[in-house]
């Protein structure tokens, strides 16, 4: 079974600065998907970014980018120019490439606070 580990429960960043959230995972599969979700206090889960394991290029979405290290099974999220609205809980998630019914496996999440 796959596991996703987010070892840092909390992080804080100054507004306009850059912060990196860490995630590691364990799998025996070679093809899979990785995601970062954001959950603000409103509790709406928002998909931030997605990475396909077969792609070597790191995914980027505006101020959000990932550092995907397949050999190390590491998938960190970098938030540039942090804004107050980035304050939320962030979850790393894994999904197998195989099977239409494949489910998401989530990490425990990390709470990010942004200091004005």
């Amino acid at each position: 079974a796959q596991t996703v580990t987010q070892s840092q429960p909390e992080m804080s960043v100054q507004e306009a600065e850059t912060v990196t959230l860490s995630c590691t995972y364990d799998t025996s599969e070679s093809d899979y998907y990785l995601f970062w979700y954001k959950q603000p206090p409103s509790r709406q889960m928002i998909l931030v970014i997605r990475q396909e394991a077969y792609k070597q290029q790191n995914a980027t979405e505006n101020r959000f980018s990932v550092n995907f290290q397949k050999a190390a099974k590491s998938f960190s999220l970098k938030i540039s120019d942090s804004q107050l609205g980035d304050a939320a809980m962030y979850f790393c998630a894994y999904r197998s490439f195989i099977g239409a019914n494949s489910k998401l496996t989530f990490g425990k999440g990390i709470t990010l606070s942004v200091r004005p």
């Binding site: 889960m45 019914n101 989530f106």
Partner: protein
């Protein structure tokens, strides 16, 4: 992406009663999922609901406690039966649009007294 709504957004219920949560999506989707999230915690998958077949439950969750309906490709319900305070959680539905991405509803905050 998909726009997903849930009803109710929150409720306070007495132990021993049941609550049915509705999930509506704005487009037809094959797979819908129900999750439970306790405050400050991660998401735990309850079951996967495919239209036209029985829901598939994860370990620790049973149909008698969490019956699920999936009458069509845009709608599903989750019932939390014979509730106890331990069932107090946020319940979220999500959908797979076919691109391996899951999109989530706004959640239902349930408090059992």
């Amino acid at each position: 992406s998909a726009v997903i709504s849930q009803k109710p957004s929150r409720d306070i219920c007495q132990r021993g009663t049941s609550l049915t949560i509705q999930c509506q999506v704005d487009s037809q989707v094959t797979m819908m999922f129900w999750y439970r999230q306790q405050p400050g915690q991660s998401l735990t998958l309850i079951a996967t609901a495919n239209q036209g077949s029985e829901a598939t439950y994860e370990s620790g969750f049973v149909i008698d406690k969490f019956p699920i309906s999936r009458p069509n490709l845009t709608f599903s319900t989750l019932t939390v039966s014979n509730m106890s305070p331990e069932d107090s959680s946020i319940y979220l539905c999500s959908v797979d649009t076919g691109s391996y991405e899951q999109y989530f509803g706004p959640g239902t905050r349930l408090t059992v007294t």
